[in-house]
């Protein structure tokens, strides 16, 4: 749904790719001379994703940590396959960042005092299997929405990978949900799952971005993203809440403990 002039829709005169139309182009490839604002925006998009997943190319501690958190051999096998896909994403994002002139190194990930999304730091600290199931159910589903929305991104190297990444994230969020269902139905962890949900639900909603962000419409104008943040957030809520309810979980109010409205 897009409604001009509201939080769900772009302001008057902005539509998907409107800036590109003014330039007479329909997209860019690696190595093209990019308009300054466009370069800044597409680099930001790539860096947000690289900030989490490209670190896996340099530091295997998260893989080991999460694989060993699984309660049985089947869970460990599945998490190993899961991380094989995440490492591939990390390499892909690293490669696209390099094409934009950003060389990500192990030192960058170890030492840079960079601004990260709050949730990213928390993901690195997850040690409980049921919490990890909640994280995958929520944040990887967020990734599905975000990447599908960029499947026709005007930066062609990014468009080329977005649908593949989105498909992988469908598998990741399904695995998280299956693990969560097992934790609740076979190990009686409903109360623990509810506590983790109340921690992660607001953080996941925050990850979509602020509803009144001016920058979101610059992404739309340059044909990088198709939708505004609030529209994607609402579609996410409509999809995930019935899934949670089927397990007996109660999603918090959408405004509960939110830091970025």
């Amino acid at each position: 749904m897009t409604v001009a002039g509201t939080e769900l829709g772009p302001p008057e005169g902005v539509w998907f790719g409107s800036e590109l139309l003014a330039l007479g182009v329909d997209g860019f490839d690696e190595g093209d001379d990019l308009p300054e604002e466009y370069r800044e925006l597409i680099t930001q998009v790539v860096m947000v994703q690289a900030d989490l997943e490209s670190e896996l190319v340099f530091d295997s501690s998260l893989l080991r940590h999460n694989i060993l958190a699984a309660p049985d051999p089947r869970g460990r096998m599945r998490m190993a396959k899961f991380f094989a896909e995440e490492v591939r994403h990390g390499y892909t994002f690293w490669s696209i960042a390099k094409g934009l002139g950003v060389e990500l190194t192990g030192r960058y990930f170890r030492e840079a005092k960079r601004k990260r999304q709050e949730a990213f730091d928390h993901i690195g600290a997850v040690s409980d299997w049921t919490e990890l199931a909640v994280v995958n159910t929520l944040t990887d589903r967020m990734g599905v929405f975000v990447f599908k929305d960029m499947s026709d991104c005007s930066y062609r190297p990014w468009a080329k990978v977005s649908l593949d990444v989105a498909r992988d994230e469908v598998g990741h969020t399904a695995l998280g949900y299956a693990n969560l269902r097992e934790a609740i139905e076979r190990r009686g962890e409903l109360a623990a799952a509810q506590r983790w949900l109340e921690k992660w639900y607001p953080m996941t909603l925050d990850m979509f971005g602020r509803s009144n962000s001016a920058r979101q419409w610059r992404y739309v104008a340059w044909g990088i993203k198709r939708s505004g943040y609030e529209e994607l957030r609402q579609r996410f809520v409509a999809e995930v809440n019935p899934l949670l309810a089927q397990l007996g979980l109660e999603p918090p109010d959408e405004l509960y403990n939110r830091h970025f409205l």
Binding site: R78, A174, A178, L243
Partner: protein
Amino acid sequence: MSTTTISWGDLEGLVDALRAAHPRVDPRALDDGELAALVEGLDGFDAASGPSAGPGDYEALRAMWHWGA
């Protein structure tokens, strides 16, 4: 002709039957409606013999089919 009844009450059996019937399908590429159509088209599937599926059952089916075991 299959004599085995398949239902949503046996997720592993359902996935085995789907894998056998549709070896090239990637379940991550299918939405719930498309998964439902494949399930209902299985030989031996009997909707009345088990619980009906909610959205979480499709998600669990997708996971079992894709991740194995």
